[in-house]
């Protein structure tokens, strides 16, 4: 009830304001004229209104109010240039690309031509220019854009019009506006609905589109279990703190700032900038490190990229090779452990197959990750500082040889950049820092996934050392993440699919599950008419084990 009442009010208001702009003030004060079309008592009043409007459409010269003067002025400026609407935007863009100027262009257009001639072209042009002006995520601008459509004209008035595609170009254009909103994740509001009803009427294509958006958007709003805030912290230390906490995925993990960024002047007068060093370690990791055999080295590896929306940060890990089986000792059962009840039964019976619900997954032991850190300067000296900081809480590090296996610092992953422009926009490499273009169709994902997988494989083969190679088949960069699971394995979790793999162990089969997953995500994207906001990855894809794990994860996620 409340919704409909609100709708009603808004409709009247909109009509009023609209009319106020078009009509001389004297004609605009009659609110009773503007009843919703759906009301049963349309009758003559409604017709009268329409006639008034049409009257204005037919003879703009009759109006002697301000708008007309304004139009004349604009006409002059328009005469100077070619009348493409792009140019109109570009003219304004010379001054400043802001919301205000964008709105001004729309105002100029709406006031310029009372007949709204070429409004479809204008809207298309405006849509294209929106990102440039930084208003692509502004609902009010979209509503204002929709407002450019003349009202009531395209509303089918009889069943035949309703049956056929009434004013197809206009409807298509209306759908396109909504489509762009959707791609930027902008949820329409009640005003949008009122506008659409006024422009196209109920049960038209734009209205249907609106309804679909309103059906799916709320459903997917919280579908990402690991949301990233819209605004990431600006301060690199805060950002590192946030990213590390996110990756560690452990409530007990403690972030330590080993060094704040600062600038120092040495004795020789040279200015030295000290990088920030932020690390994270959980009690479980400390325990695992304390149990580590000091004869086996630990490695500082990195940098590994982590995408947080449009920002890429790099992290380093302290890890060890997996414990060889001969060193794994199970704690023997001590019957004198529990004072209250037997911890084990002295029975020669195992679990029945029917009740064995564990998955048979081939586990690839990747070795534990003991700690992670982020720093702005990934050289050995800086990381050494981190390790000595860690040593305070993990004295065992003093006995374990620590090897640094560092990459060349943040650098480009090749292989994806040289594809055609469409694929580049869909699969941004880590360092391009190029925002994925949202306007593309989601089908591209499915079709091109395989190609990209092959490309990425090529990248993998170029990697000479055993290290983590993260291949991002990016749909959107608003959901990246890596985290360490309970057994201290690192899981890459990025927008799209990441495969973390030692190069010598990667071969084509291992990537198949990823393709399957990509297809799944692609379908999902098609289904929802938008890019998914979360994606999945598994560690150590090795043959069948990986595929079953990925499938399992898909299922979990889709559930």
């Amino acid at each position: 009830m409340k919704g409909s009442r609100c709708l009603h009010q808004l409709k009247s208001l909109r009509l009023l304001s609209h009319a106020g702009r078009l009509l001389p003030p004297a004609a605009g004060d009659n609110g009773a004229l503007f009843r919703p079309r759906s009301s049963s008592q349309l009758g003559g009043l409604q017709c009268a209104q329409r006639e008034v409007l049409r009257h204005f459409h037919s003879s703009p010269a009759c109006t002697k109010g301000q708008p007309a003067r304004f139009v004349q002025e604009e006409d002059k400026t328009r005469d100077k240039s070619l009348v493409t609407h792009d140019d109109l935007f570009e003219q304004v863009a010379k001054e400043a690309k802001t919301k205000a100027t964008f709105n001004k262009v729309i105002d100029v257009y709406t006031k310029g031509d009372i007949r709204r001639r070429g409004h479809v072209e204008f809207i298309y042009a405006a849509l294209k220019k929106m990102p440039e002006f930084g208003v692509e995520k502004d609902l009010t601008v979209y509503n204002k854009l929709l407002d450019v459509f003349p009202k009531e004209v395209f509303v089918p008035r009889n069943f035949i019009q309703r049956m056929f595609n009434h004013y197809p170009r206009q409807q298509e254009c209306g759908v396109q506006v909504l489509e762009q909103m959707e791609n930027y994740g902008i949820m329409p509001n009640i005003e949008t609905k009122v506008l659409l009803v006024q422009i196209f009427g109920e049960k038209t294509h734009p209205m249907r589109k609106y309804q679909r958006i309103m059906y799916w958007f709320p459903k997917f709003k919280h579908v990402n279990p690991f949301p990233i805030p819209e605004q990431l912290p600006e301060d690199p230390v805060d950002l590192a703190r946030f990213s590390l906490t996110r990756m560690a995925n452990d409530w007990d993990a403690k972030v330590t700032v080993y060094q704040l960024p600062c600038t120092d002047v040495t004795e020789s007068g040279a200015e030295v900038t000290l990088p920030h060093i932020v690390g994270i370690q959980s009690p479980g990791q400390m325990e695992a490190l304390a149990k580590h055999n000091p004869d086996r080295p630990v490695f500082v590896e990195g940098p590994f990229p982590l995408w947080m929306r449009k920002t890429c940060v790099y992290y380093y890990v302290l890890r060890a090779d997996p414990t060889p089986p001969e060193e794994k000792i199970e704690e023997p059962y001590d019957p004198e452990r529990c004072l209250s009840y037997p911890l084990q039964l002295d029975l020669d019976l195992d679990r029945d197959l029917g009740d064995d619900e564990s998955f048979d997954v081939e586990d690839l032991d990747e070795g534990p990750v003991f700690a992670m850190c982020m720093t702005s300067q990934g050289d050995q000296a800086t990381l050494n500082q981190w390790i000595s900081g860690l040593q305070e809480s993990n004295p065992i590090l003093g006995q374990i040889p620590t090897l640094f296996r560092l990459g060349a610092g943040p650098r480009e992953l090749q292989g994806v950049g040289d594809a055609d422009s469409a694929s580049r926009s869909w699969f941004p490499s880590h360092v391009q820092r190029e925002e994925a273009h949202p306007g593309e169709e989601a089908e591209a994902v499915v079709e091109e996934a395989e190609a990209v997988v092959e490309e990425a494989e090529a990248v993998v083969e170029e990697e000479p050392r055993r290290s983590q190679v993260v291949m991002t088949l990016g749909l959107r960069s608003d959901c990246g993440g890596n985290f360490v699971d309970s057994s201290h394995r690192l899981w890459s979790f990025s927008s799209g699919v990441s495969v973390k793999k030692a190069p010598d162990e990667v071969h084509h089969h291992a990537l198949h599950p990823c393709i399957a997953l990509m297809q799944c995500i692609g379908k999902f994207a098609l289904l929802t008419q938008r890019s998914p906001t979360a994606a999945i990855a598994g560690p150590g894809c090795s043959h069948t084990g990986a595929s079953s794990r990925l499938h399992q994860m898909q299922l979990q996620w889709i559930q």
């Binding site: 037997p342 039964l345 002295d346 029975l347 019976l349």
Partner: protein
């Protein structure tokens, strides 16, 4: 009734001797081994001689009556529980009174200056002592656990040296096991005892928490880690020591501010290089684990009678109010919902009493019968029943009960400790279920292995047995009928017990088949197994007690029959429900969901639902 008495008692004796004999280790072994099922049933219900209900001699009864009267008088006249609760301390004159009554040495043999009473009389006295939670806990910490180590495992010299003063109450004992990082986990005990260089002393270092009587104890049983050489390998093992406060180096912390039992003293104790002479080791060095376990296991049985005593008192207090308070021209006692509360309290008191005295009677039998399983069952049942009864008693008085003008709120607070101390009920349920499973598993392993190998004959036999049971074939364990041990007026209830036991036998078998030794990890399953076991034991206890009461014509035995039948009926349905839940994929079984909910909540460490007022568009 005389003839009934003969039937019942004569036959029950025969039944027992027919089915049971004791093996050399004192464990009961079933003689009839024709069928595994029967053994299983037998092992759970008739593990000890429960029919007839244990009796005490006339002299002993007389002794009890002589003892109980002054104690009762002391508690009603000289103990001001409200004051003890308010001031969080037991006044010295009250303690002196308790000492004069000999209550500090109830179970210490007479040769060491104690009263030398049996478990049964100890349980009886506890009914009265429990009227004040603080005193009950102080006394229990002193003699049920504090000095128990010396009593059961100490050598003659230690007994001679310590027991007389403990019995008189001149010295107060405490039991020091729990540590900040260690509850039931013996492996995480950090307190360490190291042998001094001259080999005459152990030096104890470490700290213990939640020590009842910790602030005033003079003698402590302390458990500490010691290095022991086993087969040439040095190992850490737990040892028990008698530590006197006079040895020095012991500091006690501030008394804990508790919800209930506020008059009892609970505090932290820290040991700093406390020298303990080697002769103060209880038992042998490294043997502390078994001692601790025995002390804990033997201390629990009296909770049944304590709770029963408390509920009986509560019934007296509340019934007066319920019969005098009028609403709508009717007294409260005429309202069904109030009546229900009284019936429930009476039922609970009856069952607790029955279980407690059955258990204590079994413990008093010659030899050292291991009744830890039964004691645990009594503890779980009575602590939970006690909590409900106390709360319902308070409810009868409504708002009045909530105020400090009445003792009910104090009872509620005091009662809350029962499911927590002396082994939490969760841990005891594990103990009950796993002990039962271990026992059943030993008998059934062979059979289950055969079945898993695909022995068709066995499988068919099992299916037909299940079929017969589902078609309503009656189960006869010999409780009723011509040679039965249960009185005919309880026949229906006895049949229900038999049916439960039979179904339980097959349930346990299927559980072992399904989970094998991994059942240790199935806590939700084990919880139900424990609950069924507890209720089966409770049914057995009430049937045994009521049969005896009818047979010897005790006053109001018809009321006992009523209570017994009501309880058995109720327990029968509960048991059936739990056992249906224990079947695979039964719809009542929500286990998977419960685990999933808990997992998601715990992963987020919060209640994760969106607020109902939240919106997404």
């Amino acid at each position: 009734s005389v003839s009934l008495c003969n039937t019942s008692q004569g036959c029950s004796a025969g039944f027992v001797s027919k089915v049971w004999k004791r093996d050399a280790h004192g464990y009961q072994q079933p003689l009839q081994c024709c069928d595994c099922f029967k053994d299983l049933r037998a092992c759970f219900v008739l593990q000890a001689e429960v029919f007839p209900y244990p009796e005490i001699g006339n002299d002993e009864l007389e002794e009890i009556k002589q003892l109980v009267a002054p104690v009762e008088k002391f508690f009603s006249d000289d103990v001001d529980s409200a004051k003890i609760d308010r001031e969080a301390t037991i006044p010295p004159e009250t303690l002196q009174g308790l000492k004069d009554l000999g209550l500090f040495g109830i179970m210490i043999p007479e040769e060491y200056g104690g009263l030398g009473l049996s478990n049964t009389i100890y349980a009886r006295l506890n009914e009265i002592i429990a009227l004040d939670g603080s005193i009950a806990v102080t006394l229990a910490a002193h003699q049920a656990i504090g000095l128990k180590g010396i009593l059961i495992a100490g050598n003659e010299a230690q007994k001679q040296k310590y027991l007389p003063k403990l019995a008189s109450g001149e010295h107060i004992a405490a039991f020091c096991l729990t540590e900040p990082g260690s509850g039931s986990d013996a492996a995480s005990i950090q307190t360490r005892a190291t042998l001094s260089e001259d080999g005459k002393h152990y030096l104890i270092n470490g700290s213990k928490i939640w020590i009842s009587n910790g602030g005033m104890a003079d003698i402590m049983t302390v458990f500490a880690r010691t290095e022991v050489e086993v087969d040439g390998v040095k190992k850490d093992k737990i040892s028990a020591f008698i530590v006197e406060r006079a040895f020095g180096g012991i500091t006690s912390g501030k008394p804990e501010d508790k919800l209930g039992i506020r008059g009892s003293n609970t505090c932290e104790l820290s040991f700093d290089n406390v020298p303990v002479p080697v002769e103060n080791v209880i038992g042998e060095i490294g043997g502390g684990f078994k001692i601790a376990m025995n002390i804990l296991n033997s201390g629990r049985f009296s909770m049944g009678s304590s709770c029963a005593g408390m509920i009986k008192k509560l019934i007296e207090l509340t019934s007066e109010y319920a019969t005098t308070r009028k609403q709508f021209n009717k007294s409260l006692s005429e309202f069904g919902m109030i009546q229900e509360k009284f019936a429930m309290m009476a039922l609970n008191a009856f069952v607790m009493e029955s279980m407690a005295y059955l258990t204590s009677g079994m413990m008093d039998r010659p030899g050292i019968p291991d009744c830890s399983l039964e004691a645990a069952m009594v503890k779980v049942f009575s602590s939970e029943g006690g909590w409900i009864c106390v709360s319902e008693a308070l409810q009868v008085l409504g708002g009045l009960g909530y105020t400090k003008n009445y003792p009910f709120e104090r009872f509620v607070r005091d009662c809350r400790i029962l499911p927590i101390f002396e082994g939490t009920n969760e841990i005891l349920r594990m103990y009950i279920a796993l002990t039962g499973m271990q026992y059943a598993g030993k008998i059934l392993t062979g059979k289950i292995k055969e079945m898993k190998k695909g022995n068709i004959g066995l499988a068919i036999g099992m299916v037909s047995k299940k079929l017969r049971a589902s078609l309503g074939a009656s189960v006869d364990l010999g409780l009723t009928g011509k040679d039965g041990v249960v009185h005919p007026s309880l026949e229906d209830s006895a049949k229900k017990l038999e049916q439960n036991v039979s179904l339980f036998g097959s349930t346990v078998e299927s559980l072992l088949y399904r989970y094998g030794k991994t059942i240790v990890d199935e806590q939700l399953v084990l919880k139900r197994v424990a609950d069924v076991l507890i209720h089966i034991y409770a049914m057995t206890a009430v049937l045994s007690r009521a049969s005896r009461s009818i047979s010897i014509g005790l006053r109001n035995h018809d009321h006992e029959v009523l209570l017994a039948n009501t309880f058995c009926n109720d327990a029968f349905f509960k048991n059936n429900y739990w056992m249906v839940q224990l079947q695979k994929h039964s719809p009542e079984n929500n286990d998977a969901n419960i685990k999933k909910i808990a997992k998601q909540v715990l992963e987020n460490r919060a209640y994760i639902c969106s607020h109902p007022l939240e919106r997404t568009y």
